[in-house]
């Protein structure tokens, strides 16, 4: 099967470029020519057809010099490269490139844990290091530091952080907790951010800002450079840990829960990511939809009530945890009982009471930094793995929570899908994550899910809600919603793109940022 190529690249030029890359890094780390292995770089779960966005080739360098060699060749032949780290950004695209025919730059081989400093509580890692890998390393070496994994622990620390991912411990805002980057620009320039640019420094991973402009953010959710090393602060293991669950009986309780959570989070009474989880998100790791409902469309209320009763769950299920010396945790727990626990119909559950509950167990692990894959069990709700996440941001108010919930639930039901969602309060904002699950073997259903997603983006934007992250297929649409002052921000991104990457070789279209030579066809800013 001949590879799909970008329209400006002839098969001959592409072939020359790939041969040169193979010479630079070794034939065994290059995949091309329609090799079936290319299919392991597809997104197996999205609303796009099965073989959408398959790359034309894959190159997997190990080390800065090999990356620089590939960049040089890509610049000479204008080959678009799509960097991935562990390639597990599922629901948002996985390892697949933005467009078919790009060459994936797979950094998974670069998976060294370069340093773990127990005294200052940080790690310095390469892009291929997964949460499981760092966790195993800390365990084996008896280092009393916690990581903060994404819910599926197969993901990577660098990739998740650069995508603005969130976790469940008090270190849940990953980008906030990173410290220092090493970056290669598309022209091969290698530099370090923050204190890392001082040759004799020992402060690269202890102070984020350095001297002068802070550039780290420019390399997150962007296509301006390749991050090859990153520092990550790790939480020292606390002397005590107390996870809890509070179940609520009514859908409309979401409003009062959110109002009560806000001061508890803003004042840091609850130190970690506070999650208000809807019934199906919690239940789906334990039961399949078929066990309760064999019809088409969203599961009816009668079945929801049955699940609530069978599994002692609420319409909403609030998870958080306390950390520290036991007397401090017990005092704070009393505040929780007097506030969140005092909402009519609330029931507070301890770890002991839910020790046989797989959902409580995996959340309890996540909130103490133990990576696992249990949440992936959500995929068993419908089966087949089709899922895509819609994740709008809002202030933490009851009114916003209800408005988003009603809006997304109603549209979701109208299109024949279950509402499966959670509201994550990090500090001041809410990330509302709606898990749109569908049967990928049913083309009509897959396309219906795709259409629904597009409708949600525009409807949310009209109400003032923007997504913090999105799937490849919707990057342009979401980017267009950040339009204040005639798309001034995306116009600036395009100017940065031209400055950092004049040949437009790095991840064209990532986050709706297109290089000059593709702008006429794809961009909306002029």
């Amino acid at each position: 099967m001949a590879a799909v190529l970008p329209d400006w690249l002839s098969p001959q030029e592409f072939s020359t470029a790939i041969d040169e890359m193979a010479n630079a890094i070794g034939q065994q780390w290059v995949i091309h020519d329609g090799d079936p292995k290319l299919r392991s770089y597809r997104d197996s779960f999205s609303t796009l057809p099965g073989d959408a966005n398959v790359p034309s080739a894959v190159v997997a360098p190990d080390g800065i010099e090999e990356i620089q060699a590939i960049l040089k060749i890509a610049n000479e032949h204008r080959v678009p490269l799509w960097p991935i780290s562990t390639g597990r950004n599922f629901a948002y695209g996985g390892p697949a490139p933005r467009m078919p025919g790009y060459v994936v730059l797979d950094l998974k081989r670069m998976n060294r844990i370069l340093e773990v400093n127990e005294e200052y509580a940080y790690a310095l890692v390469e892009p291929g290091v997964s949460y499981f890998q760092l966790y195993e390393y800390l365990q084996k070496n008896n280092i009393k530091l916690w990581i903060d994994p994404a819910a599926p622990g197969w993901g990577g620390i660098v990739g998740n952080t650069l995508e603005h991912g969130v976790g469940y411990t008090p270190y849940g805002d990953h980008f906030m907790m990173h410290c220092g980057m090493e970056v290669v620009l598309p022209d091969g320039t290698l530099f370090r951010t923050g204190q890392g640019s001082l040759p004799e420094t020992e402060s690269w991973q202890v102070f984020q800002y350095g001297f002068g402009p802070i550039l780290d953010g420019v390399f997150s959710q962007s296509n301006f450079g390749i991050v090859t090393k990153m520092g990550m602060w790790l939480m020292p293991e606390p002397p005590g840990y107390m996870p809890f669950l509070i179940t609520y009986e009514n859908e409309e309780d979401l409003a009062i829960i959110t109002e009560v959570v806000r001061p508890l989070k803003v004042n840091m009474v609850i130190p970690n990511g506070a999650f208000t989880v809807d019934l199906l998100w919690d239940a789906a790791v334990k039961v399949s939809k078929r066990q309760y409902y064999s019809g088409k469309g969203p599961i009816p209320d009668s079945a929801r009530k049955k699940i609530m009763s069978d599994y002692k769950l609420g319409q909403w299920n609030f998870y958080a945890a306390l950390y520290g010396p036991p007397p401090m945790m017990e005092n704070t727990m009393q505040v929780i009982r007097d506030t969140l626990g005092a909402i009519p119909g609330a029931r507070v559950w301890t770890a002991e009471e839910r020790k046989h509950d797989a959902a409580f167990q995996y959340r309890s692990k996540l909130m103490r930094g133990e990576p696992n894959m249990t949440e992936f069990g959500l995929m068993n709700w419908v089966g087949g793995g089709g899922h895509i996440n819609f994740s709008p941001i809002s202030p933490t108010t009851g009114e916003d929570a209800m408005r988003q919930y009603e809006m997304i639930k109603n549209r979701s039901h109208e299109y024949g899908f279950d509402y499966i969602g959670e509201f994550a309060v990090g500090w001041r904002d809410m990330h509302h994550v709606y898990m749109l699950m569908f049967d990928r073997t049913d083309d009509e259903e897959r396309q219906r899910a795709h259409e629904l997603f597009g409708v949600l983006i525009d409807e949310a934007a009209a109400a003032g809600y923007g997504e913090y992250r999105t799937h490849l297929a919707f990057m342009d649409q979401v980017a267009k919603t950040y339009s204040w002052n005639d798309h001034a921000l995306w116009k600036l991104h395009e100017r940065l793109k031209d400055a950092f990457d004049p040949n437009g070789i790095l991840a064209p279209g990532k986050q709706g940022i297109w290089p000059a030579h593709m702008r006429e066809k794809h961009s909306w800013t002029s």
Binding site: D106, I113, E237, P239, M373
Partner: protein, 110 residues
């Protein structure tokens, strides 16, 4: 004072600082690959989504992939490389062919 230090968990301040760089053993032993790529979904209990799905479909006898004699090496190799439904494929950069052989040996062991 000792009590205070242990109470608030500051004991780590007296521990040594930088741990050595982890030089991963390659080819990676089968058990290591299992921990990094398989166990999360295929741990043999209700917290393993792969196990839960296989139990629903094939019953208790065949829900575990570790120690499961009904799984042919070629079948495992194919599912790992191509993926199957909820399971995403593992790439050559995740696990090499030689490491996949070691993993298959580990899965067959008791």
């Amino acid at each position: 004072m000792d009590k205070l230090i242990s109470l608030i968990g500051l004991a780590l301040l007296v521990s040594s600082a930088a741990a050595p760089v982890m030089a991963e053993e390659r080819p990676r032993p089968g058990e290591e690959s299992w921990l990094l790529f398989c166990e999360g979904c295929h741990r043999p209990d209700a917290e393993g989504p792969g196990t839960v799905m296989l139990q629903r479909r094939f019953g208790d006898e065949r829900m575990a992939i570790k120690g499961n004699k009904t799984l042919a090496p070629e079948y495992i190799r194919s599912v790992v490389r191509h993926g199957l439904l909820e399971m995403a494929p593992l790439r050559q950069t995740d696990i090499t062919d030689a490491e996949l052989d070691l993993l298959i040996e580990f899965l067959a062991s008791e």
